[in-house]
Symmetry: C2
Subunit: 354 residues, 2 copies
Amino acid sequence: MSDQQQTEISQLGEFGLIDRLTENLDSINESTSYAVGDDAAILNYQGDTDILVTTDMLLENVHFDLTYVPLKHLGYKAAVVNFSDIYAMNGTPRQITVSLGISKRFTVEHIEELYSGIRLACAIYGVDIVGGDTCASHQGLVISVTCIGDAPRGRAVKRSTAKDTDLICVSGDLGAAYMGLQVLEREKVASAGRNDFQPDFAGKEYLVERQLKPEARKDIVKELADKGIMPTAMIDISDGLSSELIHICRQSNCGCRIYEDRIPIDYQTAVMAEELNMNLVTAALNGGEDYELLFTVPLVDRDKIEKMAGVKMIGYICKQELGYAMVTRDGGEFPLRAQGWNPLASNNDNEAEQ
Amino acid sequence: MSDQQQTEISQLGEFGLIDRLTENLDSINESTSYAVGDDAAILNYQGDTDILVTTDMLLENVHFDLTYVPLKHLGYKAAVVNFSDIYAMNGTPRQITVSLGISKRFTVEHIEELYSGIRLACAIYGVDIVGGDTCASHQGLVISVTCIGDAPRGRAVKRSTAKDTDLICVSGDLGAAYMGLQVLEREKVASAGRNDFQPDFAGKEYLVERQLKPEARKDIVKELADKGIMPTAMIDISDGLSSELIHICRQSNCGCRIYEDRIPIDYQTAVMAEELNMNLVTAALNGGEDYELLFTVPLVDRDKIEKMAGVKMIGYICKQELGYAMVTRDGGEFPLRAQGWNPLASNNDNEAEQ
């Protein structure tokens, strides 16, 4: 490593770093239709099919804590979060590769348990495991999954194509996975050093399940197609509503308004926020890992969307100069910021220096 | 993690673990043509093209040591080893995704240096970077690359299709990358605690380059096509000749004979083996990371192969019951074993328990 001027990665953040690394990336191959910058890349090989590729890396004690995450659930989630990226392109996941870095405290049975979750997710979502890599790791478990999917040519939906006046829609409810993490962390602290400890999830079952066993919204993508609705832009909510909405707006050169009182929040999420004395809307805006779909549709689809169970219109796309804001219950405007979980931020004390 | 009977991963080894995890994996999707068990998976979407997918994970201090590996070289190698897997399928690499786990001791400039090597490899081999993921890592650098390539329908070459009497061929020379690693490790030990240390690679330049900056044999794949030679089976040599040849034989239900005096070895490799008092043929058989191509061709292609510079016939495929063996210089038979680098073996003391 040379002595040139050095910049802390936390100064740029994850997205800044990616922008810097992928500057001026020109495509060489005809089959590369759309590269970096969305949930998945789009490849055009032959025929009427676009091929979608996405990848995610999960590291122990950064993305998951095996104190309370069962290995089977972890495998399930590692697969599903990749499927979610393909659905967020309006595609169908078809194949995955699974690479594992495994430290010595894991036995064959542990890895089989992890794999059984991956296989279960694949069986449920109709995806094939086509390859991978396994190797030794010095510390902890490393999981890298790449998912390949397809969409009829020209039907893949990007983040960059939302238009002024489009309606902003979201599936399911938000903030529950984040609250589930708080529940699990609280029980972990309470159980420290006690062998007889029984965690108490009564009344929080939905939150814990949303954190440990998220599902990808295959059903929503199917229903949109069945109803003849083609989203103008779509993304899955992994980092939080606020962050994902800003991705769509920035890449589409638009602004947005969403309404505080329209953000879908489950009853258990609200109770838990109260218990923890946390701002509920902040949790719904910035709590990640919900894996719901955030998408925009043209105004003409309003009636069709209103008839869809489990989808809510939460606002509209506007001109770029109007910025990104939430209209609060009292009619004020609260600016949205991309403060989703930033794993590379300097206040994230998750580094054991070697 | 449950209390059921536990098996150490070292008891199975990497390949045993993979076999166990991928048992009874039935494909669901029509587009999944050939899944686990080769250098890359084969996908049939539409048209006359097969799509190839391969993935590799590299972990700091398991696969690379930044004491002597420059980041740019590391990036180059991380990309090239994936291209090599696509060439080993008789395909052309087209796209890669790059996932990075980054610990806090790395700056933006470090990661840019790493990426510059990846980009250089992509420019040279004509491959597009189409996506990836970056995240924080607790310890060290994690690199996971997935490569997508293509081959005309039905032209992808597997490991499982070698036939009795086929000729066994290998490109380039073997054992040099392993010897390069020995040189680098020796200089690392010599330099410990000294700031003024200048490593001495005189007369070992080829070995060091083979270890730090391997190339994928795009040229050989092209030449085979130009000469009208279609290999019956092919694999790239990442774990060592012996191990890779046994992969071909096992998956093809064949045996093999190779000749000690025909194994291609560079002069520098021989000198270094002498210096280290190591058995030269063992190094060529079991030293990995050469990224040369090992392939089989029908007997009728003998004359064409003989005219190819940089390709050597080293033996032949025989019936399974004759086993896997090397014919030594004195005419004896030495059984081949898959003792390539096993990163999951118990004698690999590379685990810092958490």
